[in-house]
């Protein structure tokens, strides 16, 4: 098969792109250079690191699932259901992206803390305390990460040719069947990339977690929190944890092959 010669991209654009990639690459290189490789096994097997890794993985995966379960319906309603005040609702849903995570955490505290608007009645009725617990970690990271899945899925739904759903309806498919067999499969790449972004954000979340969920090893101290604390005293542990985070993140994102990000 003969290959068509692609048109040459503007050289300035490529140069800028290379600078951009270096910008991402250099800190990682710096981290690798600073790592004490001989000390690594000790750190990696320490309780602090293992506890933090376990918590981070559990919390980020749970948060991604939760974000999908709640976020995809939100995206669907925003894209398909006409109602007044839609832009306000969309702004609300995207707020966690704009807010500094610590502010988000404080907001969660005001709402869901023991004296919070919702948290107080909950506590009085059931004795459940949401902050300073594993549940608090999941809530905090879900809060900051959910906008990503909403954004990507809403955009994909808006770009989807409405005729597909019309064809499905005229052929006899009810709304659930149409959703299940036509709409969702057609936006699958967007859902995948949305979930990847959501997970990544959840995995790296710091500000909201430390504000709302606390910072206790084994219970609420996720990887980013562990790094922050380690930086104060044990630099070797800090670089080890950072390295683990980079490796895990790269693994997950690389596993999502290129073709899954775009059209099949």
């Amino acid at each position: 098969m003969t290959r068509r010669v692609p048109t040459k991209p503007p050289i300035a654009l490529v140069a800028l792109a290379i600078v951009g990639v270096l910008f991402f690459l250099i800190p990682i290189v710096g981290l690798l250079v600073q790592t004490e490789w001989s000390e690594l096994p000790t750190h990696l097997s320490s309780d602090i690191v293992l506890d933090a890794l376990r918590l981070s993985l559990i919390a980020s995966v749970l948060a991604t699932v939760l974000a999908a379960v709640v976020g995809i319906p939100i995206a669907y309603v925003l894209a398909r259901v006409p109602f007044r005040g839609k832009s306000l609702v969309r702004a609300l849903v995207l707020l966690p992206i704009v807010l500094p995570p610590v502010v988000g955490g404080a907001a969660l505290l005001f709402a869901l803390g023991r004296r919070g608007v919702v948290g107080e009645p909950l506590y009085d009725a059931t004795g459940i305390v949401l902050p300073f617990s594993m549940a608090g970690v999941v809530i905090a990271v879900t809060f900051v990460a959910m906008p990503f899945i909403v954004l990507t899925v809403e955009a994909a739904l808006r770009n989807l040719d409405v005729r597909y759903e019309g064809a499905a309806a005229s052929l006899g498919a009810g709304s659930w069947t149409s959703l299940r067999r036509v709409t969702l499969p057609l936006i699958a790449p967007a859902i995948v990339s949305g979930l990847a972004l959501t997970w990544a954000r959840a995995f790296g979340e710091f500000g909201a977690t430390i504000t709302f969920a606390g910072n206790i090893q084994g219970r609420t101290q996720t990887m980013p929190l562990a790094v922050f604390v380690a930086l104060e005293s044990d630099r070797g542990a800090a670089t080890a944890i950072s390295l683990v985070m980079v490796v895990v993140a790269v693994l997950v994102l690389v596993l999502l092959r290129d073709r899954w990000w775009g059209k099949r």
Binding site: G166, S170, L171
Partner: protein
């Protein structure tokens, strides 16, 4: 009427545009709807399919109301027995050919084994046996339209709508798909509506032709009556053209016992020849000139249209001519008069056709 489709409704799409149509399509017949883009054709498709509700009037089939705002009835598209064959197919890109065709019956709860048999039958009916596992992206335009047709007809609907079925096809696939559609329409027991902006298809497929302009049907009738008495300029120029079927070879087209000379010496086989009535000149005596097509015929009827006149001519080849009213007067022509017609070969458009077109 209680059998077939009865759609008489108004839809207001915007401040300035309102669609106001009335269609009665009997079972077993095909009505064609022609109109320029923006006339409201897709709105009609959506209204009958149930994707859009009407503002006034009603839509019903076989006496059962599908949409009637005054009595509060509105059946959702899933419930209506209507199938649409969309322009460029709108096949589900992630499903295979057989999955696409099976979609309707599966959604309506038909048992799997029965669906499988039906799908196999219908793929055979549209000459796509063996295409089961192909994806829409692997199909040519013509093949995709065939799948779309199978997907619609497998449901055995009461109403079939063909929305610009040939718009996305190139000339060569058009004739074979057209042939298939004509064949299937002939066997179809429900009411069929063909929507098109191209008059050739509408005139070929429709028993009755409706011309839609700016939201209203300006003329309805058989293709020949529209040709003879076009109600508007659009009808006259677009819908009211001559269309004859013949057999081409060596620069000649045999139309029944008559022969037409055409420019293209390479085309052969079944063809459709079209030409505008304006290109036909009438002469009291046999003309001697460059026009290759000249013959003697009789005037069957004359229909005045203001300053122009449409003349229906008979054997050996029926056609419609358009001349000025003063010409008719000065030539002293009337019904029954013998007259010579003359058409230049360059004015004849020739298009390959499927056997069944002829």
């Amino acid at each position: 009427m209680t059998s077939g489709l009865d759609a008489s409704f108004v839809i207001r799409r915007s401040e300035s545009f309102a669609l106001n149509v009335s269609l009665q399509v009997a079972r077993g017949s095909t009505h064609a709807l022609i109109g320029p883009n923006g006339a409201g054709k897709s709105t009609i498709v959506e209204a009958i399919a149930g994707l859009l509700a009407v503002d006034d009037g009603s839509i019903g089939v076989d006496g059962v109301t599908w949409d009637d705002p005054s009595s509060g009835v509105y059946l959702s598209p899933q419930v209506r027995s209507v199938a649409v064959m969309f322009q460029d197919g709108v096949l589900f890109p992630h499903l295979s050919v057989s999955q696409n065709v099976a979609f309707g019956p599966m959604s309506r709860g038909m048992p799997r084994a029965e669906v499988r048999t039906r799908v196999a039958d219908w793929l055979r009916n549209v000459d796509l046996a063996g295409f089961d596992d192909r994806l829409p992206s692997e199909l040519s335009g013509g093949e995709a339209q065939r799948v779309a047709l199978a997907r619609a007809l497998i449901l055995d609907p009461d109403v079939l709508i063909l929305d610009e079925p040939f718009a996305s096809l190139d000339v060569s696939s058009r004739s074979s798909v057209r042939g298939l559609i004509q064949q299937r329409l002939a066997m179809f027991k429900g009411a069929a509506v063909v929507i098109s902006h191209d008059p050739t298809e509408a005139l070929l497929l429709g028993d009755v032709v409706h011309v839609l302009e700016a939201g209203t049907i300006v003329q309805s009738g058989t293709p020949s009556s529209i040709r003879l008495s076009p109600a508007t300029d659009y009808v006259a120029d677009v819908a009211g053209v001559n269309l004859v079927r013949g057999f081409a070879g060596g620069g000649q087209v045999a139309v029944g016992t008559h022969e037409l000379a055409i420019v293209d010496h390479d085309v052969s086989g079944s063809v459709l020849v079209s030409f505008h009535p304006r290109t036909v000149t009438l002469h009291p005596d046999e003309p001697r000139g460059s026009a290759r097509n000249t013959w003697r015929t009789t005037i069957e009827s004359i229909e005045p249209r203001g300053e122009t006149v449409r003349v229906q001519l008979g054997a050996p080849m029926a056609l419609t001519a358009e001349v000025t009213a003063s010409a008719i007067a000065s030539l002293d022509l009337s019904e029954g008069s013998a007259v010579y017609v003359s058409i230049k070969a360059t004015e004849l458009s020739v298009e390959s056709a499927a056997i069944s077109d002829v």
